[in-house]
Amino acid sequence: MEMVSQFLASPVMQGSLLPAMLIALVASSMSVMVMAHRLSFLTVGVSHASLAGLGLAVTLSLPLLPTATVFALLVTFLLAAMPKKRGIGEDAGTGMLFAGSMALGVVLISTAGRYEVDLFGLLFGNILTVSTTELSWLLLVAAAIVFSLLLFARAWWSIAFDAVTAEAAGLPVNGIRLVLYGATGLTVIMCVKLAGIVLTTGLMVLPAACAWFWGRSLAGLWLLSVVFSLIGTWIGLMISYHRDWPSGATIVLALCCIFILSWGGAWLKQRARKHKPQAS
């Protein structure tokens, strides 16, 4: 209890708790769709490509988050438009874009002067220093993502289940999918603030992966994913405060632990169910 009150009393944590929870809420909601549509390649690609966006912002002295956001959206749509028919698969496309824009980012940032950029913060996240402008930007992006979720969640879900039938039912599948890609790209940028470029995919895949063992419908999966993510983020932040560990990495580790527990629990449940008929 003392640990919790100390944690809550700390002004640094007070400032970072709200943005961290906001990011956790949005990322875990989108993570259901990332799992359903197998978009983890996109989260990896866009998060790494955002380094080039940040490098561009540093070089041209543009505001960091808005520039990264625009750049991430561009990369997302580029990945969506990658010609799959000519044999360039999504994985190869992501690989090329990922390496290319990381390289561009590293060059841009290194030429901009070493001391201006917190490269470690970009790579592994730093939620402890969120300015008011950044917070309002995060809120704006979060609002856009949540709105598109409310508007399209069911359509995205039904396309993930059976895209052909969804299209035959009259849904403009390609357009709706493009919005999904865009929302995923925006979520990635939010996550980069919390967990950094390298760990973002963890925030966008782990919550839904934990919930996948237990959920039986879209609503159930969504709720569980959010709950797991909020718990993981809370525990991660608290441990990072007490142990002085990097916050993003600690949160991702906490989510990994929840995943292992969830997996173990599901395995035990399945085992119990198998043995039940024999016992009776």
Binding site: A36, L149, L150, L151, F152, A153, R154, A155, W157, S158, A160, F161, D162, V164, T165, A166, E167, A168, A169, G170, L171, P172, W212, G215, R216, S217, L218, G220, L221
Partner: protein
């Protein structure tokens, strides 16, 4: 309702210059139940996909309910069409209850979350039609192939479509379930005036139930009404010289009855 439910005229489809469908003309009234047969690669599924608005014809037009199907009215017209795609035996990954899968077929399922869409009555009714009510709460991933196929059919029926397009609906069903399926489709076309177009491999299984059979191999070689015999040369044109047709049932459309020729 003077106009036909489906009217196809001069339709052809030739992606990259390779003809798949040619000169298709077809007109079906409301409540008509048509079977499409033909060899593998004859373009049966392609034709169905075009009526379902998934593919654009190279030339010709498709009219549904008296209106030419185009990109602008596609969304509105297809709300009255039920479509059962060919079953692919991939493992479904999403955690869904059977009733949720069926609900996905309702025409306003994909509406925003702030709009409530309670379609539980329609879902219940569709599940009853395919005799799957008892499994409504089961996880779809745990069902057998045949059970999944019946759930998919319920999903196509839940919107009470005016036009039902079925691509090999009897796949994965045993013969008893197949008969029940055809009897259900017969009833829907008679009682609810649902127009049904069904692609099937097995002509013998369907002819006792349908109103007509279209023999398709790139073009429609013959459209036999109930009581018609499909001439032997049509069979040979469609399937090649090695076919040998044996009449098996006097009520069967399409069969070549030796005593009549």
């Amino acid at each position: 309702m003077s106009e036909p439910c489906v009217s196809i005229s001069g339709l052809s489809f030739a992606p990259e210059g390779r003809p798949v469908l040619e000169a298709i003309d077809l007109s079906l009234d409301y409540g008509h139940f048509m079977g499409i047969i033909g060899p593998n690669g004859a373009g049966k599924s392609t034709l169905l996909s075009m009526i379902a608005g998934l593919l654009q014809p190279t030339s010709g037009k498709i009219e549904l309910f008296g209106k030419v199907l185009n990109k602008l009215n596609r969304h509105r017209l297809l709300r009255q069409v039920g479509f059962l795609d060919q079953m692919h035996d991939h493992d479904p990954r999403l955690p869904l209850r059977v009733s949720d899968v069926v609900a996905m077929g309702s025409s306003d399922y994909a509406s925003p979350l702030w709009r409530r869409n309670d379609c539980s009555d329609a879902v219940e009714r569709a599940l009853q039609q395919v005799e799957m009510s008892e499994l409504a709460d089961r996880d779809y991933r745990e069902l057998s192939g045949g059970q999944r196929q019946r759930v998919r059919l319920a999903r196509a029926l839940v919107r009470s479509p005016k036009l039902l397009l079925l691509d090999e609906p009897s796949a994965a069903l045993d013969s008893r379930r197949q008969d029940q399926l055809y009897a259900l489709l017969r009833r829907l076309s008679r009682e609810e005036k649902m127009t049904i177009i069904m692609v099937e491999h097995d002509i013998a299984a369907i002819t006792a139930h349908v109103d007509s059979v279209a023999c398709l191999n790139r073009r429609i070689h013959y459209h036999a009404m109930q009581g018609d015999a499909i001439p032997e040369n049509i069979w040979k044109e469609m399937y090649g010289d090695h076919v040998h047709i044996v009449a098996h049932d006097a009520g069967c459309i399409g069969c070549h009855h030796p005593e009549e020729s």
